[in-house]
């Protein structure tokens, strides 16, 4: 059994990273080019890690399943990126960003990791500005900031409503520069389908060329997975259609522990679902809640148009329940309150699954021009989708699956329980605890890629002991056979139903039983239903076409097969965690006023699950969360 060792450096919190860095081993510049590093995924974490490692002189092999690294889903993040610059002189500091993040995550994240994140946040902004990222600016020429959920300071840097796009393009450009320089060899339209482990270390990957169908192998001295989250396990989510959990799931099956799989963030401001054909949900940035007010009618079943409901018959419930944070209450809290309002029959729009996000007051106070300058593109996007103009009619929003805080377990060096396998960004479990604050995902992706992985991967390589391997190694051949076997199996089933048919069914079970609220009963039900569905999937799936061409159905089949296994692990984890915290709300554990009730005495730990084989119950390992610098407190935004 692999031992869990988080390798948190000793010493005072604010010195841990600097001290640790000072003692990490280095690789001589002349030797770097003799070492190869594989980086899978080209989002914020992957592109920035590949670019930085390439620039340092390593031979980097980079991979993405899209047609270009610039498509990674980081590009869709809208609102902003946090950094403790204190440019607004409003009392921000590294410590405050650290504390807000720990509290936002409901005291289920590692202190040392989060403090490091807050520390390097400052350098991220410097790096991106130098790259030419056009952040919003004041007339003085200095950088602008806005506020975001879960914080009382303005520390969020933004590029209109396209912050993720601009940060990703910065990292992508840095990556393409290294491609030109020859230190990075990039492979588009390749999907990682297996991890190669040799002598207990991660030494390579097997990919499928999505255009030719060719199974290809790549070996290296270290493998870095930055492949994003698994929210698409729910079918409907705000994730891009291609986002999937296959890379980390394949690694999990090879021995990498899976951390906190049940922690799913439900984002409060998505455009509500409109029909059964719907393929995904569209997010409206959390920044809208700076100037938009959330409300529902006070009366149940009030179907009048919003402008006919007078002020005193509206319930601005976030402002009422959380007077200190109001509309900027964090995502988990806001989502749950929207659910309560709709459960009471006060929801608006078709099916009653929606609440209003109203800009009437904002436009009156600031004028249409200012509102458009801040949120213009989001308003356009909303109008394009719904056909309604949010300047005139309030937006309708409803919570939706957005981000997965769970992911592969990693130590302080972002190394998984398989030596040589590093995991960055949303693909790892670290930093966000049970809930992520807005504008923190971009921060973590870039912190991992630019400022953590380049150091820790170097330390691992410099520690030596890496024998020479090539693609003829038996372990590589076994992995290739495994991949080919799976592809052949999907194509041979010849059943009646499409991949989407099964994916939707799985998503429904998960949303109902392991979604915004879970209970022992619902989770046990899901653990009975999912294996039945999975069995049908393997016996009644229809994948058209062949394996030696672009075959999008075959791609989806592999991802959904892995989602079936992952979904069960999520339920096991949710069942075991007999408390409510952040994005994990067990209905049995709540305060009389419906707030999450943690149980620190028994559950202040990271769950790290070990794969035991198909149809076997996974084994739970616990990493105790030790808080040396802050006191565990009941989270309150009131």
């Amino acid at each position: 059994m692999t031992e869990l060792n988080s390798k948190i450096p000793a010493g005072p919190l604010e010195k841990k990273w600097d001290e640790h860095k000072a003692h990490l081993k280095l690789v001589n510049p002349a030797n770097k080019r003799k070492h190869t590093v594989i980086v899978v995924g080209t989002g914020l974490a992957g592109a920035s890690a590949a670019a930085s490692l390439g620039e340092m002189g390593y031979k980097v092999l980079s991979f993405c399943f899209q047609d270009s690294p610039r498509r990674a889903h980081s590009i869709a993040a809208q609102g902003g990126i946090n950094a403790a610059k204190n440019y607004q002189n409003d009392g921000d500091s590294i410590y405050r960003l650290f504390y807000d993040t720990i509290k936002g995550g409901d005291f289920r994240a590692r202190e040392a990791n989060v403090y490091r994140l807050a520390q390097v946040s400052v350098n991220i902004i410097d790096q991106c500005v130098a790259q030419g990222v056009p952040f919003g600016r004041e007339y003085s020429g200095t950088l602008g900031n806005r506020s975001f959920g879960g914080a009382q300071v303005s520390r969020t840097f933004y590029a209109r409503g396209q912050t993720g796009q601009q940060l990703l393009l910065g990292a992508y450009q840095a990556l393409m520069k290294q491609v030109q320089a020859g230190t990075v060899v990039h492979h588009s339209r390749r999907e990682m389908l297996e991890l190669v482990v040799i002598d207990g270390r991660a030494r390579g990957i097997v990919t499928r060329n999505l255009v030719t169908g060719k199974i290809e192998s790549h070996v290296a001295d270290a493998v870095v997975l930055c492949t994003g989250g698994y929210g698409n396990v729910f079918y409907l989510s705000t994730n891009a259609k291609g986002c999937n959990g296959t890379a980390i799931w394949r690694a999990h099956r090879k021995g990498a522990f899976f951390g906190n799989p049940c922690y799913t963030q439900i984002h409060p401001t998505c455009i509500p679902k409109s029909g059964d054909y719907q393929s995904k949900l569209t997010l409206m940035s959390e920044s809208l809640r700076n100037d938009g007010r959330v409300w529902v009618p006070k009366k149940k079943g009030d179907h009048r148009p919003p402008n006919e409901i007078p002020e005193d018959e509206r319930d601005y419930y976030l402002e009422r329940v959380y007077p200190s944070f109001g509309n900027l209450a964090p995502r988990d809290v806001s989502s749950r309150q929207a659910k309560y309002a709709c459960d009471e029959g006060r929801g608006v729009g078709p099916g009653g699954l929606g609440v209003y996000l109203d800009f009437g007051d904002g436009i009156k106070r600031l004028g249409k021009r200012v509102i458009d300058e801040r949120y213009g593109n989001l308003f356009e996007m909303y109008e394009r989708i719904t056909g309604e103009d949010p300047h005139v009619v309030p937006m309708r929003i409803y919570p939706a699956v957005h981000y997965t805080m769970g992911g592969l377990w990693v130590d302080y060096n972002l190394m998984s329980s398989i030596p040589g396998l590093f995991v960055g960004g949303e693909a790892n479990f670290s930093d966000h605890g049970a809930n992520r604050l807005g504008a923190s995902a971009l921060m973590q992706g870039l912190a991992d890629g630019y400022f953590v992985l380049p150091y820790t991967v170097s330390d691992y390589i410099a520690s030596g002991g890496l024998s020479k391997v090539d693609t003829n190694h038996a372990a590589v051949k076994d992995a290739e056979r495994e991949v080919q076997g799976r592809m052949d199996k999907f194509l041979a089933i010849g059943g009646k139903h499409s991949v989407d048919h099964f994916h939707k069914a799985l998503g429904n079970v998960l949303w109902e039983d392991c979604g915004m609220a879970r209970s022992k009963e619902s989770l046990e039900r899901a653990l009975e239903e999912i294996p039945k569905l999975e069995q049908q999937f393997w016996s009644d799936l229809r994948v058209t076409g062949t394996g030696s061409e672009l075959n999008q159905e075959l791609e989806k089949a592999g991802r959904v097969a892995d989602f079936f296994e992952l979904a069960q692990l999520m339920c096991y984890d949710a069942l075991k965690r007999e408390e409510s915290c952040g994005g994990h709300f067990r209905v049995e554990h709540q305060t009389p006023d419906g707030e999450a009730k943690r149980n620190d005495a028994e559950f202040a730990y990271v769950s790290a699950w070990e794969w035991k084989g198909p149809n076997e119950t996974p084994v739970l390992h616990k990493e105790p969360l030790v808080y040396e610098n802050i006191q565990l407190a009941t989270r309150s935004y009131k």
Partner: protein, 263 residues
């Protein structure tokens, strides 16, 4: 609503390809891609191969989707991508022709999917500021005039979908390249490499086999991100200045190989 779709089907790069007609039942709330999902589910049930089309974020920002609808890149509603085009813009009984981007520099992969990696190579040729990780100065030590910053943001909004190339009778990549050149030329951080950048990116455009810009303006008319024609003017201006400066500076000209990364 019932629609007839005339869709370009092409198994791979060496298949000659042809149009095939399909009937599909849609409703006005669906996005165009969701309508195609419905068609594909129907095809799979009938044991036929679904239509391949690129898509990912379905929020109009990743730039992955895109094809011609009745000859218009991303369809009739501008500015916007095909994933954000809703069926309320069409009517019952309409016949629509769907075909992939047509450009020599964008070889067809399958059906409506093309290979746009030439755009990546244009960026690799110089579409960046060279800054080493960790060596950047304090962010507010570089002040940027708000007007320039806003204009840089407008140019930076390009999603790299390739609609500009598909809409241009010459299949020119001038708008795509102009957008990046303009963004970086407007910012103080972009100045040191400004003229090397424009020369190298223009050289790469030529090597990839894109056509020349003849100022027709169709590119900007269909651009889902609203990139303006003036970015091409900015690029041309910088190119002329760069060509004059080149005699003094002789910047290195580096052109990437134009081989497909999928081979």
């Amino acid at each position: 609503m019932r629609l007839t779709l005339e869709i370009w089907r092409q198994k791979n790069g060496s298949d000659p390809g042809r149009f095939v007609n399909y009937e599909v039942e849609a409703n006005e709330h669906m996005s165009f891609l969701e309508m195609l999902d419905v068609l594909n589910q129907d095809l799979i049930t009938r044991g036929e191969e679904p239509v391949a089309f690129d898509n990912d974020c379905r929020e109009g920002i990743c730039g992955m989707c895109g094809f011609l609808i009745d000859g218009q890149a991303h369809g009739p509603n501008h500015p916007g991508t095909v994933c954000q085009l809703h069926m309320r813009f069409f009517h019952d009984g309409q016949k629509l022709r769907l075909e992939p981007w047509r450009a020599a520099a964008f070889p067809i992969v399958k059906d409506l999917v093309v290979n746009r990696s030439a755009l990546d190579r244009i960026i690799a040729a110089g579409g960046y500021n060279s800054v080493r990780t960790g060596s950047a100065p304090e962010a507010n030590s570089i002040l940027v005039n708000k007007v320039d910053s806003d204009r840089a943001m407008e140019a930076a909004a390009c999603i790299g979908c390739g609609a500009c190339v598909a809409a241009c009778p010459n299949a020119s990549a001038a708008l795509f390249t102009g957008a990046k050149v303009t963004q970086l030329a407007l910012l103080p951080q972009g100045q040191p490499e400004r003229y090397v950048r424009v020369i190298n990116m223009a050289g790469q455009i030529e090597a990839e086999g894109f056509g020349h810009c003849t100022s027709i303006g169709e590119c900007a008319a269909v651009c889902p991100a609203g990139i303006k024609l003036e970015t091409i003017a900015q690029m041309n201006k910088d190119f002329i200045r760069a060509s004059l400066k080149r005699r003094e500076n002789a910047p290195p000209l580096t052109i990437s190989k134009t081989t497909s990364p999928y081979a």
